[in-house]
Symmetry: D2
Subunit: 341 residues, 4 copies
């Protein structure tokens, strides 16, 4: 960490600062330029509060050199993390294809979709039981009952399941869930992350709408610091000024996260775009960029008037995307220890 | 709500859509232009899922005319909401001045600050016990013990207190807290909002870093739909491309929220800027724009080496800001039923 | 165009508005809901100033149904535009690979790179003569002399050349340039766009850092309205809150622009990311998404100390990217009349 | 400037880098930490290309310590710049109130408004002759004839005039214009800025929609480097994810620019919000924050059907805002050498 001081810092403040830094077990290297004095800190700076330092009168700026995440950091864990999930895995040589409906609506619906997506090449099943909805008046999901139905579909299809937790108080219901998803809106729900760090279960963390990649890794770090290294990162679109799609898919997250971290990285083109017609091109792009997997919404309920033209792909459209992705994969970008090869 | 259909919609899909809309107790007005057909919906559309409609093949776009929030809506509640808090109130003719430290550190610290800010004109005391920190390695607050100390300071100073809740499981500790704060990162923690709707306590909701004003009002709506109308809205900076300050204070939130809603609106210039030198000009600007109050960080701990030059204002600097705000208030923008007068 | 009026509009204002609309040769369809009155406009609304309408007291909102661009609109020109450029073309069945240095530095440099990138599969040569630099103290390009050198390299290699114009006064120098580039910072330099509309030359317009896709198409419309239909669109990263890369590549621009417009769409992964290690994965992703081409910075100047590790790819690294892109292309997303197939 | 090198940099590349830096007349201070090596550069680094350095393989990051602007920098010019304009001035003790129509439409219109705003307290008259419009089909302004009418209004009212230039080729028409405005879309039209640097005229530069404050100062630097120190900075809203207003007014630009630079800073609440009802609260906020002036759109054309309810303020509404601003000014935030007092 480098601290750039203002010109002619007040001596007493400087002494206070240096005493405080030494108290944090850091060694200080001073160097004086023409217009600024610089303190270089050597030691473990991951617990140092950079905002606090920046706020000091005598400090002009602070520059982290060591990243503030350790467990999630590629520098300290060169090999890719591979996470076993039921009969499959996330990361490594397997391309993960997660598919399923936005909301679990009925046993018939989830089982029908599970069977269909398995046949089309899905390796895992997703489905929402607890639904974060912007409006209190919108359908909030089948909740505990939805989880039961999802587990029925797991039994039927043999596919491991991924589903979202919205609050700590729901955790006891997730015993048979294979991968627990933390949604974008909860990415910085730190109490939830801490508790998930004690579960040992694979945790799929979705990037928040306005969160940097470093913040995403800090959220992974919350889980990992509790002893749970089974974290998967998911880019699902960020919020920008552009309104042509629901969000802006930030696909450069794939090579950047590969370099910064050893954790698997998957892409959710359905939420990132909110438009059915964009799922296939963005799925192909994600595969070509070297992502470890995809998470795609698939819907099919012939009894439901509205499903007819819905944005989620039908199982048939998903099968088309899945086959196209398989065709691109042999030519996708490859990484070795996080570097493009 | 207006649904703009694509040119020559498939007849069966159109019939399905109309049947579904009628099933939602909506009346449909059709009108046909040269290139598009339009469905105007009359009735209560607040539970209609606009994203679901947009996702239909035959739909080009959907435009809400009625806002999706009812309880928080100025249109259905013309008078300003005034919330009694201890010996003071939020909203109405009283300008709320909330002051206090970022984190509660000790009984001495919080009591000393409480006394000082009261004398300088604060009407309420703030202080963090549960601290949302980006890093798991950073100080997480004194938690339950911090709340105890805050309540000591309340008793000593007579000031009502505001403090942040981070998880539902902490709620039982907040019985004697006057105003419960929902932080920016939890603005869309819907399970938490729902539960706070059953408390009857004043809830101060901070706008999320990437949340629109409409989303802020939808979060207020979650609390209000549960029966708790005591909601205060707080703008504390949004995330943009500009990095000169920590966030970008969106002061137009004041007149916009006044028009959209009847709830009190306060501004937090400390978090919005992250720079001590910006607190005074932004506090004066907020007061002049007609905000209902301010929330300002004040820190003072002579035994702590780092506090010396810290970004939080000292009690003396806060007294200066407080006096300057009082001088501006008589000339501030005024609103009548949400309209500038 | 739909105009949503406020409840109980003042009669005189309403009459004024209707008279004004009729004066614009528009037919008005009125429909009255419970809380709002709606005016549907039929006719050519492309010249109607939507901001002016929105600003009227009696207007709540205005919703365009027809896009404000005509010449660039896929709806009025179903077939993909194909633009002949020297011995090649942009759009259609040819994948365009533009490569070359950021700045033209010397005859030796540009000729050496031209030869190398041609051998590696480039179909066009790029090189900056007039350089938009944030700082007045930075190298501003070789200007007219740079253009001469670029044309030398064109003669030598046989590759058509693309280079940026910064001001109208430079236009007379571009007679032998094959494609004139309008940079991101000039995307809304409307005087320049108007004049380029009279040249008949292929114009490559880069999307501005904070411009929507619709605005990009409006800038294309400026050129096309002048009679020049040879416009190529280029996504080169937008400005967001994320700072891990220089900009955020918005790859969903490919399917969106394909649907909105018939113009060729290319991607510039070098400027979009600013990081050499991201060029290959993003180039592969762009190819897989169905883009019509790429624009990649390639640099090689052994006599120049700094070029050794520079971010621009070396000719060898470019050859690797080019081969990898060729391998992905047969499996890339395909479009028919702008729709994914 | 500080260069942070990657761990174990390749020796040859390091030597090349050091040779290049020395060739730029910079002195290098090396310091080696546990995980990184750091080069501190002493000397004039304003011409060093930070992106070029960042792009080197062996460089992890580069941190500027000296700002890249010199002429606009408060550090090298402690006193506020005051710019004489006709019978008034910009900056210093005078609060500038610029008012006038968006577009000049007729002699009657501009003269009527000029007289009215002067009476209401305006110190300068604005009016657009060359209009940057997103659509080529929208009214592009009266152009040269518009300038003539503006100069008529100047003669009549005695108010100095501000109007926008869109292209270098128009410059000869601006001889009698008092202040030349560079619009947000042209903020980085560097060829235009360079030329304006040779005019000696006051130049009002509007911040681009997605430009940082530092970039705004770099654009000022372009003008100043040419020898013209008469630059005024104008914040007029930035583009963010929020769509409730047209743009997001970034009022923290006032104290930040005051600290970074000695140039006058004014606020345009009309363009920043695009909503008439927001002009008064934002004008009061801007005045309270210590801005040097305001630029407000005023419109009045009784013969024009649409002007009746338009967003621009009427002269009467402007008089109300102007009086309210005058009342706030004595209590506004004050600065001494850029620091809040």
């Amino acid at each position: 960490m480098i601290i750039i001081l203002r010109k002619d810092p007040e001596l007493r403040q400087l002494e206070n600062l240096k005493a405080w830094l030494t108290g944090q077990h850091l060694t200080i290297h001073e160097s004086k330029g023409e217009s600024h004095m610089i303190l270089g800190l050597v030691g473990d700076t991951s617990a140092v509060d950079i905002d606090l330092l920046r706020a000091l009168d005598i400090v002009e700026d602070v520059k982290r050199i060591q990243e503030p995440y350790k467990n999630a950091n590629r520098k300290f864990h060169e090999e890719d993390t591979v996470i076993p999930v039921g009969n499959t895995q996330m990361g490594g040589d397997v391309f993960t294809m997660i598919a399923g409906p936005c909301s679990i609506e009925s046993e018939e619906q989830i089982c029908l979709i599970a069977t269909a997506v398995k046949q089309a090449g899905a390796t895992m099943l997703r489905g929402g039981a607890f639904k974060p909805r912007t409006s209190p008046y919108a359908f909030q999901g089948l909740r505990a009952h939805g989880l039961d139905l999802l587990l029925e579909a797991k039994k039927l299809s043999g596919l491991p399941v991924v589903t979202e937790i919205m609050d700590l108080s729901q955790l006891h219901l997730f015993a048979d869930v294979d991968v627990i998803q933390v949604g974008a809106r909860n990415m910085q729900n730190f109490e939830l992350l801490k508790e998930l760090g004690h579960t040992g279960k694979p945790i799929l963390i979705k990037r928040g709408l306005a969160n940097t990649l470093q913040e995403l890794l800090m959220s992974a770090e919350y889980v990992m610091a509790g002893g749970n290294g089974n974290v998967v990162l998911c880019e699902r679109g960020i919020r920008t000024f552009e309104t042509a799609a629901r969000n802006t898919l930030d696909l450069s997250a794939v090579p950047l996260l590969k370099k910064m971290s050893h954790l698997p990285v998957i892409i959710d083109p359905s939420h990132a775009t909110g438009i059915a017609g964009l799922v296939k091109p963005m799925a192909l792009a994600a595969a070509a960029s070297g992502a470890d997997g995809l998470m795609i919404e698939v819907h099919n309920d012939p009894s439901h008037a509205l499903s007819d033209g819905a944005q989620s792909l039908t199982p048939e459209a998903f099968a088309d995307v899945s086959a196209a992705v398989q065709a691109v994969l042999p030519f996708a970008c490859r990484y070795n220890h996080g570097k493009v090869v």
